[in-house]
C-alpha cells in the first residue's frame, strides 16, 4: 500500500514534472553542457589525439544547439564542413606528426595557471556582457522557426525573401544580399588552396640566389636538402 502510494505519487509527480519540462530547453542544456565540457576538456588534456576527439564532440554538440536555435542549415553545414572537413584535416595533421614524443607535450604548470587566470578574467568579462543587455535576457517567445534554408539560399544569390515581420529592425536597415561574399569567397578559397599546396609541396631543390645564407638564422641549412 505504502509502496504503491509511493509509486503512484512518484509517477504522478514525474508526469507533472515531465509535462512541465520544456524539452527544447532540456535539449539545449544537454547539448550546451556537452559542448562546453568538451571544449574545456580540449584545454585540459595534453594528448593531442584526445584533443581532436573532444573537439569533434564539442563541435558536434554546437551543431546541435544550432539546430535548436532554428538554424538547421548552418547546423548541417557545421557538421559537414567543420566536423567532416576541417577536423578531418586536423586529424590528418595529428596523424602526420603524431610521433611518440609529440603526442603529449606537457605545458609547464606555471603557464597553465597563468592561462587559467587570464582565461577566467576574459570569461568573466564576456559572461558579464552576455548578461548586461536586458533584452537578451528575455525568454524566447516560443515562435516556431520556419526552415531557413530557402531564404538563406536566396540571400546568397542576392535576393532576400525572408519575410519576417518581427525581423524588421528598429531602423530601416538595408537587408543585404550575399551574392558578393558568396562569389568572392571562392576566389579566396582558390588562393588559399594554392598557398597551402605550395607550402605542402616537396621542398625545392634549389633556393633562389642569395637566400641560402641570408637572414637571421645563418644556421638554417635545411634549405638545401
Amino acid at each position: 500500500m505504502m509502496g504503491t502510494l509511493l509509486g503512484d505519487s512518484t509517477a504522478t509527480l514525474g508526469m507533472v514534472l515531465l509535462a512541465a519540462i520544456n524539452w527544447h530547453s532540456l535539449l539545449f542544456y544537454l547539448f550546451a553542457a556537452a559542448a562546453c565540457a568538451c571544449a574545456v576538456a580540449v584545454v585540459l588534456t595534453d594528448n593531442v589525439v584526445r584533443m581532436a576527439f573532444y573537439l569533434v564532440l564539442s563541435l558536434g554538440a554546437t551543431a546541435g544547439i544550432f539546430f535548436l536555435a532554428g538554424a538547421d542549415f548552418v547546423g548541417a553545414m557545421q557538421l559537414m564542413i567543420y566536423v567532416g572537413g576541417t577536423l578531418v584535416l586536423l586529424v590528418f595533421g595529428v596523424m602526420l606528426t603524431a610521433q611518440a614524443p609529440f603526442v603529449s607535450i606537457r605545458t609547464p604548470a606555471s603557464d597553465k595557471v597563468l592561462g587559467g587566470i587570464v582565461g577566467a578574467a576574459l570569461l568573466m568579462v564576456l559572461v558579464l556582457s552576455a548578461f548586461s543587455v536586458e533584452s537578451w535576457r528575455r525568454p524566447a517567445m516560443g515562435l516556431v522557426a520556419a526552415p531557413s534554408a530557402t531564404p538563406l539560399g536566396m540571400a546568397f544569390l542576392g535576393v532576400r525573401v525572408d519575410d519576417d515581420p518581427l525581423a524588421a529592425p528598429v531602423v530601416d536597415s538595408i537587408r543585404s544580399g550575399y551574392l558578393l561574399p558568396f562569389e568572392i569567397v571562392s576566389v579566396h578559397l582558390l588562393v588559399v588552396l594554392v598557398g597551402a599546396a605550395y607550402l605542402a609541396r616537396a621542398k625545392r631543390r634549389r633556393m633562389p640566389r642569395g637566400i641560402e645564407t641570408a637572414g637571421a638564422d645563418a644556421a638554417a641549412t635545411g634549405g638545401r636538402s
Binding site: L13, A20, H24, S25, F28, A35, C36, A39, V42, V43, V48, M51, A52, T62, I65, F66, L68, A69, A71, F73, V74, Q78, I81, Y82, L89, L90, L96, T97, F102, R106, T107, D111, G115, G119, V127, S129, A130, F131, S135, W136, R137, R138, P139, A140, M141, A155, L166, A167, P169, R175, Y178, P181, H188, L189, V192, A196, L199, K203, A216, G222
Partner: protein
C-alpha cells in the same frame, strides 16, 4: 520517504529551470565558454595542432553568438535581431575557418619539416 524528498526537490528545481524557455543570454554564455576555451587553448598548448584546434574553438564560440542573435526562435520581445544575417555570417565564418585551417595546417607541416617538431616553444629563434 527519505528518497522522495530530495527527488521532489530536484524535480522542482529542474522543472523550474527546465520549464523556462532559453534566451539569447544562454547561448551567449555557451559562446563565451567556447571562445574562452579556445583562447586559453591557443595560449597554453605547446603542440601546434592544439593551437589550431584552439582557433577552431574561438571561431565556433563567436558563431554561437551569431546564431543566437539571428535566431527567430530565441528572440525576446522587442529585442533587436539581425535576422537572417546571423546565419549567413555564421556560414561564411565556417568557410573562412576551413580556409584558414588549411593554410595553418600547411604552415604547421612546413614547420614540422624544418624543425622536426611541432612544439611551438621551439619557435623562439626570432625575438628581441
Amino acid at each position: 520517504m527519505n528518497l522522495i524528498a530530495p527527488l521532489c526537490a530536484a524535480g522542482f528545481f529542474a522543472s523550474g529551470v527546465l520549464s523556462d524557455p532559453v534566451s539569447v543570454t544562454h547561448y551567449l554564455v555557451v559562446g563565451a565558454i567556447l571562445f574562452t576555451s579556445g583562447v586559453v587553448c591557443m595560449a597554453v598548448k605547446r603542440n601546434a595542432l592544439g593551437i589550431l584546434m584552439g582557433i577552431e574553438l574561438v571561431l565556433n564560440g563567436a558563431n554561437v553568438n551569431f546564431i543566437a542573435f539571428g535566431s527567430p526562435y530565441l528572440r525576446g520581445e522587442g529585442s533587436a535581431s539581425i535576422g537572417l544575417d546571423g546565419e549567413a555570417i555564421a556560414l561564411f565564418v565556417i568557410l573562412l575557418a576551413a580556409a584558414e585551417a588549411a593554410v595553418a595546417l600547411a604552415i604547421t607541416l612546413n614547420f614540422y619539416n624544418n624543425h622536426s617538431t611541432v612544439d611551438i616553444d621551439e619557435a623562439d629563434d626570432l625575438q628581441g
